[in-house]
Structures are given as structure tokens and as C-alpha cells.
Symmetry: C2
Subunit: 120 residues, 2 copies
DNA sequence: AAGGAATATTCCTGTCAATGAATATAAAAA
DNA sequence: TTTTTATATTCATTGACAGGAATATTCCTT
């Protein structure tokens, strides 16, 4: 219960941290697209495209709609919202304590003195 | 020149897409911290901590301040701003074409007809 | 029903990156 | 100057994961 909440879903990040997958995500800005179209536009082989799309779907970044033979992939809003709030929470923190570095240095100095080994 | 701008720096993402590094970043919400303190609090060995900190620094997520013996690491605002604008650009796009899926389906149908192989 | 198109899955292989252990470097303390 | 503290770096090992090739599956077309 002592919330050590990582907050951000790691699968989202690791899914995006791969060039081809990032390219897919960027491509899908243009709207929903079939596997074949994605593979063509990005110069990927169909199986690799499918694999990357699976990773992206599993992580919740994309969703699929089966249309007969085709599978149409499109972006999902949720993970981007999650990323957004995560980033914002950091921006807030950084505004506050923007440069407590000097405070921290003084803390360090004090600790030194409190555990002072010199015989005074 | 034909701007195929990935926009988002991949090193930022891949740096964050590793649990220990994410933990470090989360920990540094509390403010700047030395290597030893980070290692202790996260139960990491010092060398591993240093290595992860190097990755985070190289990617621009952290910056170091050398203070005598110690190295004090702290968060940098810039990569979070970059992430923020990247995410926002997506949110805008998704608001617009939120569900052009049906449009796309009709496009598909049309293409089928235009490249119709039946003898008319 | 047969053939073909679109997509997914499996298996293998190579590569990269995280880990552990040991060691190097730098500064502080004695 | 020797020792100790704090941190970085090197090297070898290992595990995860992306790519390639082949194949399975599903649906459409004829």
C-alpha cells in the first residue's frame, strides 16, 4: 500500500523505443491503415510489420479492427494521455524545486559535520 | 530535406524504457542526489548505478554536478518538454480525426472498385 | 472447391544491452 | 604519504529481442 507507484506504464515506453515502431506510430498520424499499407509505406516486410503491430497493440498504443481480409490499425488516445500526465507531474516537480541543488549541498555539508570523525 | 522528422528523440525513450533507470528518474523527483544515495535507496550496486546514470546523462535526461568526491545528479527539464510537445501533437491529431475509420473503410471500398478486375 | 490475397505465427540466428566482478581514478582523511 | 571514500570503467557472460525465412490461417474470388 505504501504507494511506490511507478506511474508510467513501461510497456508503452519500450514499445515506442524502437525505430520501426516509432515510425509506425508516426505514420498512423495520417489515420487508420492496413498492415499491408503500413508495410509498404515503411519498406517493411509484412511479417515484421505484423510483429511490431502486435507489440504496439499489446501495449495498448494501437487497436485493430478486423475488416474481412484486412486488419486496420489505428492509434489509441489513452496511452498518450497517460504519458501526458506523467510528464506533467514531472514538470510540476521541476518548477517547484527547480534548483534546490544548493540546498542539497548544504544538507550534505551538515551530514558531514554530524558524523564528524575528527576528535573535536 | 523532405522532412521525415521523427520529432521525438529516441534516446530519451530508450533511456526511460528500462526499469532501473525509470526508478532513478522517479527517485530524483525528490531532488538532486549523489550516486551512492541513489544506489542505496534503490538497492543497486554502485557500478550499475553509475552505468545507468551515464545512459541517462548521455540522453540529456540528467545532468551532473561534480562536488569534490561526489557527483550529484539531477533532472533536466528539456527532455520532458520535448516529450510533452510530442505527445501534444498526437493528442491534437487524434482529436481531429478521432474516428475517421469509417471514412477509411469507404476509401478502401472505392479503391477496390477502381482497380476492379472484373470485366465491367 | 481451388487459387490467391492479406495477415499472423513459428523457428532460427545474430546482436545488443544489462549484469556481475574486478579494477581504475580521484579526492578526502588520517 | 598511506589509507579510505566515492565514483567510473573495463571485461566477460548472459538474456531479450529484432530480423529473416518459411508456413499457417482466414477470407475473398473465380
Amino acid at each position: 500500500m505504501s504507494g511506490k507507484n511507478p506511474g508510467m506504464d513501461m510497456t508503452t515506453l519500450s514499445a515506442l523505443a524502437e525505430p520501426n515502431r516509432m515510425n509506425i506510430v508516426e505514420l498512423l498520424r495520417d489515420g487508420p491503415m492496413t498492415v499491408g499499407e503500413i508495410a509498404n509505406r515503411l519498406g517493411l516486410r509484412q511479417p515484421q510489420a505484423s510483429k511490431h503491430l502486435k507489440v504496439l497493440s499489446d501495449s495498448g498504443i494501437l487497436e485493430v479492427k478486423a475488416e474481412a481480409n484486412r486488419r486496420i490499425y489505428k492509434l489509441r488516445a489513452e496511452p498518450f494521455q497517460a504519458l501526458d500526465s506523467w510528464v506533467k507531474s514531472f514538470q510540476r516537480v521541476m518548477e517547484d524545486r527547480f534548483d534546490n541543488l544548493e540546498d542539497y549541498l548544504r544538507e550534505l555539508q551538515n551530514k558531514e559535520k554530524s558524523q564528524d570523525h575528527s576528535n573535536g
